[in-house]
Symmetry: C2
Protein backbone atom coordinates (compact mmCIF):
# COMPACT_ATOMS: atom_id res chain seq x y z
CA UNK A 1 0.00 0.00 0.00
CA UNK A 2 1.22 3.46 -0.85
CA UNK A 3 1.50 6.47 1.39
CA UNK A 4 -1.68 8.24 2.49
CA UNK A 5 -1.65 12.04 2.72
CA UNK A 6 -4.31 14.03 4.54
CA UNK A 7 -4.53 17.09 2.35
CA UNK A 8 -6.35 20.31 3.17
CA UNK A 9 -9.34 20.83 0.85
CA UNK A 10 -11.92 23.51 0.16
CA UNK A 11 -15.66 23.22 -0.40
CA UNK A 12 -14.65 21.59 -3.68
CA UNK A 13 -12.82 18.49 -2.47
CA UNK A 14 -10.46 18.81 -5.43
CA UNK A 15 -9.34 22.25 -4.30
CA UNK A 16 -6.08 21.59 -2.45
CA UNK A 17 -4.51 24.86 -1.39
CA UNK A 18 -2.36 24.39 1.73
CA UNK A 19 1.24 25.60 1.21
CA UNK A 20 2.51 23.01 3.67
CA UNK A 21 0.58 20.19 1.99
CA UNK A 22 2.02 21.28 -1.36
CA UNK A 23 5.52 21.01 0.10
CA UNK A 24 4.68 17.40 0.92
CA UNK A 25 2.99 16.66 -2.43
CA UNK A 26 6.06 17.89 -4.29
CA UNK A 27 8.47 16.05 -1.97
CA UNK A 28 6.57 12.79 -2.48
CA UNK A 29 6.59 13.27 -6.26
CA UNK A 30 10.31 14.11 -6.14
CA UNK A 31 10.90 10.77 -4.42
CA UNK A 32 8.68 9.05 -6.99
CA UNK A 33 6.45 7.62 -4.26
CA UNK A 34 2.83 6.63 -4.79
CA UNK A 35 0.42 8.63 -2.69
CA UNK A 36 -3.28 8.52 -2.04
CA UNK A 37 -4.53 11.93 -0.94
CA UNK A 38 -7.52 12.23 1.37
CA UNK A 39 -9.33 15.57 1.28
CA UNK A 40 -9.40 16.98 4.79
CA UNK A 41 -11.11 20.00 6.36
CA UNK A 42 -9.80 22.21 9.18
CA UNK A 43 -12.52 20.94 11.47
CA UNK A 44 -11.86 17.23 10.90
CA UNK A 45 -9.29 16.89 13.67
CA UNK A 46 -10.70 13.52 14.69
CA UNK A 47 -9.61 11.94 11.39
CA UNK A 48 -5.94 12.68 12.10
CA UNK A 49 -6.01 12.16 15.87
CA UNK A 50 -3.56 9.26 15.51
CA UNK A 51 -0.91 11.80 14.49
CA UNK A 52 -1.11 13.27 17.98
CA UNK A 53 -2.11 16.74 16.81
CA UNK A 54 -4.65 18.51 14.65
CA UNK A 55 -3.02 19.95 11.53
CA UNK A 56 -2.11 18.75 8.07
CA UNK A 57 -0.08 17.63 6.23
CA UNK A 58 -0.18 14.25 7.90
CA UNK A 59 1.06 11.13 6.17
CA UNK A 60 0.63 7.50 7.02
CA UNK A 61 3.60 5.51 5.75
CA UNK A 62 3.65 1.78 6.47
CA UNK A 63 1.37 2.28 9.44
CA UNK A 64 3.40 5.16 10.86
CA UNK A 65 1.76 8.58 11.30
CA UNK A 66 3.96 11.61 10.65
CA UNK A 67 2.92 15.25 10.67
CA UNK A 68 4.52 18.59 9.73
CA UNK A 69 5.85 19.10 6.19
CA UNK A 70 9.43 19.49 7.40
CA UNK A 71 9.35 16.33 9.51
CA UNK A 72 7.75 14.48 6.62
CA UNK A 73 10.55 15.59 4.28
CA UNK A 74 13.19 14.42 6.78
CA UNK A 75 11.32 11.12 7.16
CA UNK A 76 11.18 10.59 3.39
CA UNK A 77 14.87 11.36 2.99
CA UNK A 78 15.84 8.93 5.75
CA UNK A 79 13.40 6.19 4.75
CA UNK A 80 14.00 6.31 1.00
CA UNK A 81 17.71 7.14 0.63
CA UNK A 82 17.92 5.37 -2.75
CA UNK A 83 15.38 7.74 -4.28
CA UNK A 84 16.40 11.21 -5.56
CA UNK A 85 17.71 13.32 -2.67
CA UNK A 86 15.59 16.16 -1.32
CA UNK A 87 18.55 17.74 0.48
CA UNK A 88 22.21 18.33 -0.29
CA UNK A 89 24.67 17.39 2.42
CA UNK A 90 23.36 16.40 5.83
CA UNK A 91 19.63 15.88 5.80
CA UNK A 92 17.74 19.05 6.50
CA UNK A 93 20.63 20.96 7.99
CA UNK A 94 22.36 23.83 6.27
CA UNK A 95 21.42 26.77 4.16
CA UNK A 96 18.11 25.18 3.18
CA UNK A 97 17.03 26.19 6.68
CA UNK A 98 17.48 29.80 5.68
CA UNK A 99 15.20 29.28 2.70
CA UNK A 100 12.66 27.73 5.05
CA UNK A 101 13.02 30.55 7.59
CA UNK A 102 12.59 33.25 4.93
CA UNK A 103 9.54 31.52 3.49
CA UNK A 104 7.91 31.18 6.91
CA UNK A 105 8.81 34.60 8.35
CA UNK A 106 8.72 36.83 5.26
CA UNK A 107 6.93 35.24 2.31
CA UNK A 108 3.94 33.61 4.05
CA UNK A 109 3.04 36.63 6.22
CA UNK A 110 3.29 39.00 3.26
CA UNK A 111 1.18 36.71 1.08
CA UNK A 112 -1.67 36.19 3.51
CA UNK A 113 -3.41 39.56 3.08
CA UNK A 114 -3.59 39.07 -0.70
CA UNK A 115 -5.43 35.77 -0.54
CA UNK A 116 -7.08 35.41 2.85
CA UNK A 117 -10.54 36.43 1.73
CA UNK A 118 -10.38 34.23 -1.35
CA UNK A 119 -9.29 31.32 0.84
CA UNK A 120 -12.30 31.97 3.05
CA UNK A 121 -14.71 31.95 0.13
CA UNK A 122 -13.29 28.66 -1.15
CA UNK A 123 -13.72 26.83 2.16
CA UNK A 124 -16.43 24.33 3.03
CA UNK A 125 -19.14 26.05 5.04
CA UNK A 126 -18.27 24.03 8.11
CA UNK A 127 -14.71 25.41 7.97
CA UNK A 128 -15.59 29.04 7.33
CA UNK A 129 -16.61 29.82 10.90
CA UNK A 130 -13.44 28.23 12.26
CA UNK A 131 -11.26 30.03 9.76
CA UNK A 132 -12.83 33.45 10.32
CA UNK A 133 -12.64 33.19 14.08
CA UNK A 134 -9.08 31.81 14.31
CA UNK A 135 -7.62 34.22 11.72
CA UNK A 136 -9.41 37.27 13.06
CA UNK A 137 -8.06 36.42 16.53
CA UNK A 138 -4.55 36.11 15.07
CA UNK A 139 -4.68 39.40 13.17
CA UNK A 140 -6.86 41.38 15.57
CA UNK A 141 -8.91 42.55 12.59
CA UNK A 142 -11.67 41.23 10.34
CA UNK A 143 -10.68 39.20 7.28
CA UNK A 144 -12.06 42.01 5.15
CA UNK A 145 -9.78 44.56 6.86
CA UNK A 146 -6.73 42.31 6.46
CA UNK A 147 -7.51 41.88 2.77
CA UNK A 148 -8.24 45.52 1.96
CA UNK A 149 -6.06 47.42 -0.52
CA UNK A 150 -4.18 44.58 -2.11
CA UNK A 151 -3.66 46.41 -5.39
CA UNK A 152 -1.81 49.15 -3.52
CA UNK A 153 0.33 46.63 -1.66
CA UNK A 154 1.38 44.73 -4.77
CA UNK A 155 4.50 46.79 -5.66
CA UNK A 156 5.89 46.38 -2.13
CA UNK A 157 5.17 42.66 -2.21
CA UNK A 158 6.96 42.25 -5.52
CA UNK A 159 9.91 44.26 -4.17
CA UNK A 160 10.09 41.92 -1.18
CA UNK A 161 10.85 39.05 -3.55
CA UNK A 162 14.22 40.65 -4.42
CA UNK A 163 16.33 37.88 -2.85
CA UNK A 164 14.42 35.18 -4.74
CA UNK A 165 14.61 37.16 -7.96
CA UNK A 166 18.34 37.75 -7.51
CA UNK A 167 18.92 34.06 -6.80
CA UNK A 168 16.96 32.99 -9.88
CA UNK A 169 19.14 35.27 -11.97
CA UNK A 170 22.09 33.13 -10.88
CA UNK A 171 20.66 29.62 -11.15
CA UNK A 172 17.43 28.05 -12.50
CA UNK A 173 16.23 26.62 -9.20
CA UNK A 174 16.46 27.67 -5.57
CA UNK A 175 18.53 24.56 -4.85
CA UNK A 176 20.78 25.08 -7.88
CA UNK A 177 20.66 23.25 -11.21
CA UNK A 178 17.78 21.00 -10.18
CA UNK A 179 14.74 21.49 -7.94
CA UNK A 180 15.03 20.08 -4.42
CA UNK A 181 13.32 20.63 -1.08
CA UNK A 182 14.40 24.29 -1.04
CA UNK A 183 12.28 24.84 -4.14
CA UNK A 184 9.26 23.04 -2.70
CA UNK A 185 9.40 25.18 0.43
CA UNK A 186 9.08 28.38 -1.58
CA UNK A 187 6.83 26.96 -4.27
CA UNK A 188 4.27 25.84 -1.68
CA UNK A 189 3.62 29.51 -0.94
CA UNK A 190 3.04 30.44 -4.56
CA UNK A 191 0.88 27.38 -5.18
CA UNK A 192 -1.14 28.32 -2.08
CA UNK A 193 -1.79 31.73 -3.61
CA UNK A 194 -2.41 30.38 -7.08
CA UNK A 195 -4.92 27.70 -6.07
CA UNK A 196 -6.85 29.83 -3.63
CA UNK A 197 -7.04 33.18 -5.40
CA UNK A 198 -7.38 34.55 -8.94
CA UNK A 199 -5.25 37.56 -7.95
CA UNK A 200 -2.02 37.53 -9.96
CA UNK A 201 0.96 38.24 -7.71
CA UNK A 202 3.74 38.04 -10.27
CA UNK A 203 4.49 40.09 -13.34
CA UNK A 204 4.97 38.01 -16.47
CA UNK A 205 8.50 39.28 -17.06
CA UNK A 206 9.60 38.39 -13.52
CA UNK A 207 12.25 35.65 -13.11
CA UNK A 208 10.11 34.38 -10.23
CA UNK A 209 7.21 33.93 -12.66
CA UNK A 210 9.42 31.88 -15.01
CA UNK A 211 10.62 29.73 -12.10
CA UNK A 212 7.04 29.17 -10.97
CA UNK A 213 6.18 27.99 -14.49
CA UNK A 214 9.08 25.50 -14.32
CA UNK A 215 7.79 24.26 -10.98
CA UNK A 216 4.23 23.92 -12.28
CA UNK A 217 5.52 21.72 -15.12
CA UNK A 218 7.41 19.27 -12.87
CA UNK A 219 6.25 15.68 -12.44
CA UNK A 220 3.98 15.75 -15.45
CA UNK A 221 2.37 19.03 -14.46
CA UNK A 222 1.34 17.82 -11.00
CA UNK A 223 0.95 21.35 -9.59
CA UNK A 224 0.10 23.03 -12.88
CA UNK A 225 -2.93 20.82 -13.44
CA UNK A 226 -4.24 21.16 -9.87
CA UNK A 227 -7.71 22.59 -9.37
CA UNK A 228 -7.79 26.30 -8.64
CA UNK A 229 -10.46 28.35 -6.92
CA UNK A 230 -13.59 28.76 -9.00
CA UNK A 231 -13.27 32.54 -8.97
CA UNK A 232 -10.22 32.07 -11.18
CA UNK A 233 -10.83 33.49 -14.68
CA UNK A 234 -10.49 30.73 -17.24
CA UNK A 235 -8.42 32.87 -19.56
CA UNK A 236 -5.76 33.64 -16.99
CA UNK A 237 -2.30 32.48 -18.10
CA UNK A 238 -0.55 29.91 -15.94
CA UNK B 1 54.88 33.46 -0.59
CA UNK B 2 51.40 33.66 0.89
CA UNK B 3 48.35 35.25 -0.60
CA UNK B 4 48.13 39.04 -0.77
CA UNK B 5 44.77 40.72 -0.08
CA UNK B 6 44.04 44.32 -0.97
CA UNK B 7 41.78 45.30 1.89
CA UNK B 8 39.70 48.48 2.14
CA UNK B 9 41.01 50.74 4.93
CA UNK B 10 40.00 53.97 6.62
CA UNK B 11 42.09 56.97 7.64
CA UNK B 12 43.50 54.61 10.25
CA UNK B 13 45.17 51.95 8.07
CA UNK B 14 44.21 49.33 10.65
CA UNK B 15 40.51 50.12 10.22
CA UNK B 16 39.29 47.44 7.80
CA UNK B 17 35.57 47.72 7.35
CA UNK B 18 34.51 46.42 3.92
CA UNK B 19 31.84 43.69 4.18
CA UNK B 20 33.13 42.06 1.01
CA UNK B 21 36.75 42.10 2.22
CA UNK B 22 35.59 40.52 5.49
CA UNK B 23 33.97 37.72 3.51
CA UNK B 24 37.39 37.09 1.98
CA UNK B 25 39.31 37.43 5.27
CA UNK B 26 37.06 34.84 6.90
CA UNK B 27 37.20 32.51 3.88
CA UNK B 28 41.01 32.64 3.87
CA UNK B 29 41.11 31.92 7.61
CA UNK B 30 38.62 29.08 7.14
CA UNK B 31 41.00 27.54 4.61
CA UNK B 32 43.93 28.11 6.98
CA UNK B 33 45.82 30.10 4.36
CA UNK B 34 48.46 32.70 5.17
CA UNK B 35 47.56 36.15 3.99
CA UNK B 36 49.31 39.48 3.89
CA UNK B 37 46.76 42.31 3.82
CA UNK B 38 47.56 45.58 2.11
CA UNK B 39 45.52 48.59 3.26
CA UNK B 40 43.83 50.10 0.23
CA UNK B 41 41.76 53.25 -0.29
CA UNK B 42 38.82 53.74 -2.66
CA UNK B 43 40.87 56.13 -4.76
CA UNK B 44 43.88 53.81 -5.21
CA UNK B 45 42.56 52.10 -8.32
CA UNK B 46 46.02 52.12 -9.91
CA UNK B 47 47.35 49.71 -7.28
CA UNK B 48 44.88 46.98 -8.31
CA UNK B 49 44.81 47.73 -12.05
CA UNK B 50 46.24 44.27 -12.76
CA UNK B 51 42.93 42.81 -11.55
CA UNK B 52 41.25 44.45 -14.53
CA UNK B 53 38.84 46.52 -12.43
CA UNK B 54 38.82 48.99 -9.55
CA UNK B 55 37.24 47.45 -6.45
CA UNK B 56 38.36 45.29 -3.56
CA UNK B 57 38.65 42.62 -2.35
CA UNK B 58 41.40 41.65 -4.75
CA UNK B 59 43.78 38.81 -4.01
CA UNK B 60 47.04 37.82 -5.63
CA UNK B 61 47.54 34.07 -5.33
CA UNK B 62 50.66 32.59 -6.93
CA UNK B 63 50.86 35.51 -9.33
CA UNK B 64 47.20 35.32 -10.28
CA UNK B 65 44.93 38.32 -9.64
CA UNK B 66 41.36 37.55 -8.61
CA UNK B 67 38.67 40.03 -7.63
CA UNK B 68 35.14 39.84 -6.17
CA UNK B 69 34.60 38.07 -2.85
CA UNK B 70 32.39 35.42 -4.45
CA UNK B 71 34.88 34.64 -7.22
CA UNK B 72 37.66 34.54 -4.64
CA UNK B 73 35.70 32.02 -2.54
CA UNK B 74 35.13 29.82 -5.60
CA UNK B 75 38.82 30.11 -6.47
CA UNK B 76 39.89 29.10 -2.96
CA UNK B 77 37.54 26.14 -2.93
CA UNK B 78 38.80 24.91 -6.31
CA UNK B 79 42.49 25.60 -5.65
CA UNK B 80 42.64 24.23 -2.11
CA UNK B 81 40.22 21.27 -2.11
CA UNK B 82 42.16 19.50 0.67
CA UNK B 83 41.51 22.37 3.09
CA UNK B 84 38.19 22.68 4.99
CA UNK B 85 35.32 23.13 2.54
CA UNK B 86 33.64 26.52 2.23
CA UNK B 87 30.63 25.06 0.46
CA UNK B 88 28.50 21.96 0.81
CA UNK B 89 27.75 20.06 -2.37
CA UNK B 90 28.71 21.60 -5.69
CA UNK B 91 30.94 24.61 -5.26
CA UNK B 92 28.97 27.79 -4.88
CA UNK B 93 25.73 26.45 -6.30
CA UNK B 94 22.68 25.75 -4.19
CA UNK B 95 20.87 27.36 -1.33
CA UNK B 96 23.97 29.30 -0.28
CA UNK B 97 23.09 31.52 -3.24
CA UNK B 98 19.87 32.44 -1.47
CA UNK B 99 21.83 33.49 1.60
CA UNK B 100 24.03 35.60 -0.66
CA UNK B 101 21.04 37.10 -2.48
CA UNK B 102 19.28 37.99 0.78
CA UNK B 103 22.44 39.56 2.19
CA UNK B 104 22.99 41.65 -0.92
CA UNK B 105 19.39 42.67 -1.62
CA UNK B 106 17.94 42.99 1.90
CA UNK B 107 20.60 43.15 4.60
CA UNK B 108 23.17 45.47 2.99
CA UNK B 109 20.66 48.08 1.76
CA UNK B 110 18.90 48.16 5.12
CA UNK B 111 22.21 48.48 6.99
CA UNK B 112 23.66 51.33 4.94
CA UNK B 113 21.60 54.19 6.42
CA UNK B 114 22.67 53.21 9.95
CA UNK B 115 26.38 53.45 9.27
CA UNK B 116 26.97 55.52 6.17
CA UNK B 117 27.87 58.72 7.99
CA UNK B 118 30.17 56.89 10.41
CA UNK B 119 31.88 55.22 7.44
CA UNK B 120 32.40 58.63 5.91
CA UNK B 121 33.98 60.02 9.07
CA UNK B 122 36.37 57.06 9.31
CA UNK B 123 37.68 57.45 5.76
CA UNK B 124 41.00 58.97 4.72
CA UNK B 125 40.47 62.55 3.61
CA UNK B 126 41.37 61.66 0.04
CA UNK B 127 38.53 59.10 -0.02
CA UNK B 128 35.88 61.29 1.59
CA UNK B 129 35.14 63.36 -1.51
CA UNK B 130 34.85 60.23 -3.67
CA UNK B 131 32.63 58.52 -1.13
CA UNK B 132 30.30 61.48 -0.63
CA UNK B 133 29.90 62.10 -4.33
CA UNK B 134 29.39 58.47 -5.40
CA UNK B 135 26.99 57.62 -2.56
CA UNK B 136 24.97 60.82 -2.86
CA UNK B 137 24.58 60.11 -6.59
CA UNK B 138 23.41 56.57 -5.76
CA UNK B 139 20.88 57.64 -3.14
CA UNK B 140 19.86 60.96 -4.65
CA UNK B 141 20.21 62.51 -1.19
CA UNK B 142 22.97 63.82 1.05
CA UNK B 143 24.72 61.35 3.35
CA UNK B 144 23.22 63.24 6.27
CA UNK B 145 19.70 62.76 4.90
CA UNK B 146 20.27 59.05 4.29
CA UNK B 147 21.56 58.66 7.86
CA UNK B 148 18.85 60.66 9.62
CA UNK B 149 16.54 59.00 12.11
CA UNK B 150 18.35 55.76 12.74
CA UNK B 151 16.99 55.31 16.23
CA UNK B 152 13.46 55.34 14.82
CA UNK B 153 14.38 52.85 12.12
CA UNK B 154 15.99 50.36 14.50
CA UNK B 155 12.85 48.32 15.37
CA UNK B 156 12.03 47.80 11.68
CA UNK B 157 15.63 46.79 10.99
CA UNK B 158 15.62 44.27 13.80
CA UNK B 159 12.28 42.89 12.56
CA UNK B 160 13.81 42.45 9.10
CA UNK B 161 16.29 39.97 10.59
CA UNK B 162 13.45 37.52 11.30
CA UNK B 163 14.64 34.88 8.80
CA UNK B 164 18.14 34.91 10.26
CA UNK B 165 16.79 34.82 13.81
CA UNK B 166 14.47 31.95 12.98
CA UNK B 167 17.31 30.03 11.32
CA UNK B 168 19.61 30.52 14.30
CA UNK B 169 16.90 29.11 16.53
CA UNK B 170 17.20 25.88 14.54
CA UNK B 171 20.98 25.55 14.18
CA UNK B 172 24.07 27.35 15.57
CA UNK B 173 25.39 28.59 12.22
CA UNK B 174 23.84 29.70 8.95
CA UNK B 175 25.46 26.74 7.22
CA UNK B 176 24.40 24.27 9.94
CA UNK B 177 26.53 22.81 12.70
CA UNK B 178 29.69 24.60 11.59
CA UNK B 179 30.39 27.97 9.98
CA UNK B 180 30.95 27.95 6.24
CA UNK B 181 30.79 30.50 3.43
CA UNK B 182 27.10 31.14 4.10
CA UNK B 183 28.06 32.47 7.52
CA UNK B 184 30.83 34.67 6.16
CA UNK B 185 28.45 36.21 3.62
CA UNK B 186 26.12 37.39 6.37
CA UNK B 187 28.81 38.09 8.94
CA UNK B 188 30.61 40.46 6.56
CA UNK B 189 27.62 42.79 6.83
CA UNK B 190 27.62 42.81 10.62
CA UNK B 191 31.39 43.23 10.80
CA UNK B 192 31.09 46.14 8.35
CA UNK B 193 28.63 47.79 10.71
CA UNK B 194 30.60 46.92 13.82
CA UNK B 195 33.97 48.19 12.58
CA UNK B 196 32.68 51.38 11.02
CA UNK B 197 30.09 52.55 13.55
CA UNK B 198 29.57 52.58 17.32
CA UNK B 199 25.83 52.26 16.78
CA UNK B 200 24.61 48.96 18.22
CA UNK B 201 22.27 47.23 15.81
CA UNK B 202 21.51 44.10 17.81
CA UNK B 203 19.80 43.60 21.15
CA UNK B 204 21.84 41.52 23.57
CA UNK B 205 19.15 38.86 23.93
CA UNK B 206 18.90 38.38 20.16
CA UNK B 207 19.97 34.98 18.73
CA UNK B 208 21.67 36.99 15.98
CA UNK B 209 23.78 38.74 18.63
CA UNK B 210 24.87 35.38 20.06
CA UNK B 211 25.74 34.09 16.58
CA UNK B 212 27.77 37.25 15.88
CA UNK B 213 29.70 36.62 19.10
CA UNK B 214 30.48 33.08 17.91
CA UNK B 215 31.68 34.48 14.60
CA UNK B 216 33.85 37.10 16.29
CA UNK B 217 35.56 34.37 18.29
CA UNK B 218 36.48 32.20 15.27
CA UNK B 219 40.09 31.78 14.16
CA UNK B 220 41.56 33.07 17.41
CA UNK B 221 39.30 36.10 17.47
CA UNK B 222 40.32 37.32 14.01
CA UNK B 223 37.23 39.50 13.56
CA UNK B 224 36.66 40.18 17.26
CA UNK B 225 40.09 41.73 17.70
CA UNK B 226 39.89 43.87 14.57
CA UNK B 227 40.20 47.63 14.92
CA UNK B 228 36.90 49.49 15.14
CA UNK B 229 36.12 53.10 14.36
CA UNK B 230 37.55 55.52 16.92
CA UNK B 231 34.13 56.90 17.72
CA UNK B 232 33.40 53.52 19.29
CA UNK B 233 32.97 53.77 23.07
CA UNK B 234 35.61 51.66 24.76
CA UNK B 235 33.17 50.21 27.22
CA UNK B 236 30.85 48.84 24.59
CA UNK B 237 30.40 45.07 24.87
CA UNK B 238 31.53 42.99 21.91
Amino acid sequence: MGIVLYDLAGADPDLRFSPHCWRTRMALAHKGLDVETVPWRFTETEAIADSGQGKVPVIVDQGRWIHDSWEIALHLERTYPDRPALFTGSTGVGEVQFVRAWTDTVLHPSLVPFIILDIFHGLAEVDQAYFRQSRQARFGRSLEEVAAGREERLPAFRASLAPLRSLLGMQPFVAGDRPMMADYLVFGAFQWARTSSPFELLAEDDAVHAWRARMLALFGGLAGSAACCTARPLDRPV
